[in-house]
Amino acid sequence: MKLGLTFPLPKELIREFAAKVDKLFVIEELDPFMEEQILAMGIAVEGKNKLPVIGELDLNIVREALLGDSPDDMKFSVKEPIPARPPSLCPGCSHRGVFYALKKLKLTVTGDIGCYTLGALPPLEAMDTCLCMGASVGFSEGMEKTEGEELQGKVVGVIGDSTFFHSGITGLIDIFYNQSNAKLIILDNQITAMTGHQEHPGSGLNLRREPTNRVDIEKLVRAIGIERIVKINPYDLKETIDTIKEEMQVDGPSVMIADAPCVIRERKVFTKPYYVIADKCTKCGMCDKVGCSAIEKDEDGKTKINPLLCIGCDICRQVCRFDAIIRPADN
């Protein structure tokens, strides 16, 4: 039987059904929610003694758990290792420059939830914690207050604009109220990007994309009482690195706002695709470190740029020490 109302359980229906069968199994995803209640009704039932309490169930899992085995047809697998294809920051993403800078500066980064959580993945690997919506702010304050000398000026929180509105504001109030020195970077791409570009209080549009009131993040932060607020252009790596470095040294809290709209949302194209002069490429691997999926390798292992993906954000050119990556002439 399949239940539609699962709380409160339809106990009479379940008793009638149980009386008609030899053995009763509950097949439910995650916890033994129904199973425990049915057991408490005095009905012998099995389920989580065979089925997992984590993950989704599917036909293969249920079959193997209840029947012990699957037909051979279902056991095929490819022997060769299959490279994973995890999601990554989009080519041209405004978050890339900030994470490159954070890695370069070897800071301890308390992260948050959004597209930018992908900054935790290789090769950027510039996020050390991710707990829940807004936790970047409280985490950085707690660590800064307790970790002692070695982490002074080394911990920074990173949060997106939508997540800041969701749960970051109260944490920032705490930083000000309790006289913390914590530093915070707000990645303001002016949209809730991860879930597919929904509007939010700072985007100036409502759910139907009609104009509405807009909360200005900078004014909001200033109204809390934070005095040090700086803007970052994340497409300028040197400026980004220098600004973060300087702000990390200041006494008292600092909020850095990386102000750049989501390129996917804006369908932004900076220039024509960049290209590589193969003779100049030494295969040093520096451009690999920005983690852009438009950067590929030719047969010789030299960098080439996929023209279908590159939108000309310029980040890879700024890290190349051999001037091998070329910005196309404007025309």
Binding site: L3, T6, F33, C130, M133, T195
Partner: protein
């Protein structure tokens, strides 16, 4: 009567529309996001993004108190944020029907954790419906609003990613604003 291939999320939106729903709020979160996006396509319904799920549930509950059928949608962890109003709403009850969608994400396709939000129904002592395809997602949304008004309680509609994002054929009915009993 026409038929369409709808995702669970589109079907929930359609059900809310067919049931004469008037107010819906949410904070985006996979796999729940498209519920409000699709509700937003029905001009008869006031639909809005909230800064977080607690606010979404509060404004939806306020709309219910105001006498209209209301909906708040969120992903599983969103209900943690909205748990504070949830538990006391269970005491307070509703005027217009109030349905709360909890879109769980077993296997963490787009989440940091797994959690089984069916416990919220038991803990807050509110009824819970669980659809198994898009047709049921639509039908149960309508039923949830009816149960909510009949028993003077918010009702939890609990889905999983596979229900929210799977598509199947749904029978569409015309918009029929129901009078509140």
């Amino acid at each position: 009567m026409s038929r369409a291939v709808l995702s669970g999320n589109e079907a929930i939106a359609r059900g809310f529309y067919e049931a004469g729903g008037k107010f819906a709020a949410a904070y985006p979160g996979t796999p729940s996001t498209e519920i409000l996006e699709n509700i937003g396509k029905y001009q008869e319904i006031k639909a809005q993004w909230s800064p977080n799920e607690k606010v979404a549930l509060e404004v939806a509950a306020g709309a219910s108190l105001g006498g209209v059928r209301a909906l708040a949608a969120m992903k599983h962890v969103g209900l943690n944020v909205a748990a504070d109003p949830l538990f006391s709403l269970s005491y307070m009850g509703v005027n217009g029907g109030l349905v709360i969608i909890s879109a769980d994400d077993p296997a963490m396709h787009s989440s940091q954790n797994e959690q089984d939000n069916r416990w919220y129904a038991k803990a807050a002592k509110i009824p819970m419906l669980e659809p198994s395809d898009s047709q049921e997602a639509k039908d149960f949304t309508v039923l949830a609003l009816e149960l909510s008004e009949k028993f003077d309680t918010p009702v939890l509609l609990r889905t999983t990613t596979r229900i929210n994002h799977s598509k199947s054929i749904v029978e569409l009915k015309r918009f029929s604003p129901m009078l509140r009993s």
